[in-house]
Subunit: 349 residues, 2 copies
């Protein structure tokens, strides 16, 4: 039927990175919301909070004292989910009860000594220094031969489970491949074997031609709403160069990544004139497990807000049991993001 | 290493129904919580609310008027995510932009005319009538030859995106298999082909022998915390008889299912003496697409609360980008649920 229209009719879209599908219901944007409304977060934090375990010179849970740091500060998570000295082992009862020991390292990275900032309120130069730390941490963690995967991420905003508003991110490194990364490895490998090219490089070329879902680009990175986006304003930062991990970014690329993160997160904050919550993180090649030439570095942003600073998208019933579902199209979201200013609303007159 | 202990050490567990893994961090239970705390929901609702679109005799968004119903009441969702008259069609650009038209029917089921009730506050006989409606709705929707999958579910509590506290559930039926159901189909089929038995029947037999994760059972159903549970107090109701869908439940089985739902949801409410939020739903055989003898009916309960009526588990950063993660073990959760009373806290002296 030639009447079928992605802008109008319910449809499913394929996530080429994972092989999963997402249900899109474009006609459903006008649903009135009578459900849960989130409280807006207090936004006037002091530059220094004596009760914050991330601020310089303060005490942490393990009794140690933070240095009087000036840029970033990295330490082992006091409540690590993965531990260094887990004994090897496992369980397999009739292939019905199957478990494996997991060993790992969880680190916390404070992005700034300033308690009152967030990434979009920092300068490109300051964010560049965070990118430097991500790179050196990646290198350091990859030097443990048993570490196979390094997950760099940030939870921003209490609605995203962030328990401390001081700007910070986390790294969880472990001895096996997490589910999402295993799926992306599989899909990129398949494409590479069949076409000899990077899946994301081919995808990027197509998106740059169409320009339907591009938010903006700089010399080294493209920011876009992926065709298969799940969250209302989900985006992806993709490197123009086919690079397997942050380890290989040049100084120019690291600076351009900081620029992309800054401009994207400012647009996000400007969307509803609020500190825009999200979970964000990089996907990159596994380490210490042979060559993965098909892996193409990228960074996902998963923000939950749908219509305002207080109404989010709930991934519940149907989504948990059956399939992720969204109400606005990726193209609509990209257009909206494209139209937003890159000057932070708080710094305007 | 023989020192490895599921009760103590971080490990991953296999979800045999989906093939996915979950990260378990048993040592992490003592993490202090400084993050988001949910408001407790007001709990004194009137029996009838003139502003509720589910209460008998009230007006709905489409202008129609609800009947003065006595048991359950079923109607087409006024803001359906799937529609009946979507034109066929799709898109495939270089296998990079892939989409398919989706056609479906979304229905809402009010469980009771009483605005102030929830399933755990209804009698087994009243819940039995809801089970009857689920069965007859399943039969009715399966009579559309193009419908391949029928998802019966309930979102309970505003924290689970439920926009109206009037007790109700939903059914989304559509022309294709959702992601989660496709995975469960695949895994059950594989097991059936290799062993000639139902995966869940074999799993149930093992769990009943061990009794580590059983919450309770009645004549026809077992309620347990699956070995691979993701949510803190996630449970599963599994039919003792290997039945592919609700269509084949006898009168006795339907009554026993109502009994299991009632007793489980009362235990949930008693956990933190609050109306316990969850998303719950049945997984069952696809329809109108050949025989699926390996499919074994079951119902999942995914409740978000972790430590109290106001502190939930956040599935964010690491979980979204890498792998679901939990802090308490399935065995701990089962023990806790087993110890709870089956008399609702609100009806006690
Ligand atoms: O249809 P409702 O109850 O308004 O909406 C709720 O359930 C749906 C199905 O799980 C979700 O897509 C929505 O995000 C949620 O708010
Ligand atoms: O480690 P945090 O920031 O205390 O905790 C937060 O991030 C973790 C990693 O995404 C999640 O497991 C927690 O549920 C969330 O609250």
């Amino acid at each position: 039927d030639t009447n079928f229209d992605l802008k109008e009719h319910p449809h499913s879209r394929l996530n080429i990175l994972t092989g999963d599908w997402i249900l899109v219901s474009p006609h459903r944007t006008k649903r009135p919301w009578q459900g849960k409304v989130e409280a807006t977060q207090a936004d006037d934090r002091p530059q220094y909070d004596p009760a914050c375990y991330l601020c310089p010179t303060n005490k942490r849970a393990d009794g140690s004292e933070n240095p009087d740091y000036k840029g970033s500060f990295v330490f082992t998570n006091d409540y690590s989910s993965l531990l260094l000295n887990t004994p090897d082992g496992g369980l397999n009862e009739d292939e019905l009860l199957v478990a494996n020991s997991q060993k790992g390292i969880c680190r916390v990275i404070s992005f700034s000594p300033r308690h009152d900032l967030t990434l979009p309120q920092m300068t490109t130069k300051e964010i560049s220094k965070v990118v430097d730390v991500w790179q050196s941490e990646f290198e350091d963690l990859a030097s443990y031969p048993w570490i196979k995967h390094i997950q760099i991420f940030e939870n921003k905003g209490d609605i995203m489970g962030c328990s401390n508003p001081h700007p910070h991110g986390q790294i969880w490194a472990q001895n096996s491949l997490p589910v999402e990364v295993a799926k992306e490895t599989q899909q990129q490998k398949l494409h590479f074997e069949q076409k000899g090219t990077s899946l994301l490089a081919d995808y990027l070329a197509l998106e740059l031609r169409k320009h339907d879902r591009i938010v903006f680009e700089n010399e080294h990175f493209v920011v876009l709403v992926p065709f298969w986006a799940v969250w209302p304003y989900e985006t992806m930062i993709v490197s123009k160069r086919h690079v397997t991990s942050i380890l290989y970014f040049t100084e120019q690329e690291k600076h351009a990544l900081a620029d992309a993160i800054r401009r994207l997160t400012i647009r996000y904050d400007n969307m509803f004139e609020t500190s825009f919550p999200y979970s964000a993180g990089m996907h990159q090649s596994p380490v210490n497990s042979g060559d993965h030439p098909y892996w193409h570095w990228h960074m996902h942003f998963y923000p939950p807000l749908l219509r305002s600073a207080t109404v989010k998208k709930f991934m519940v019933g149907y989504e948990m049991l059956a399939n992720p579902q969204r109400d606005i199209t990726a193209e609509f979201a990209a257009e909206k993001l494209r139209g937003l200013s890159e000057i932070h609303y708080k710094t305007r007159e």
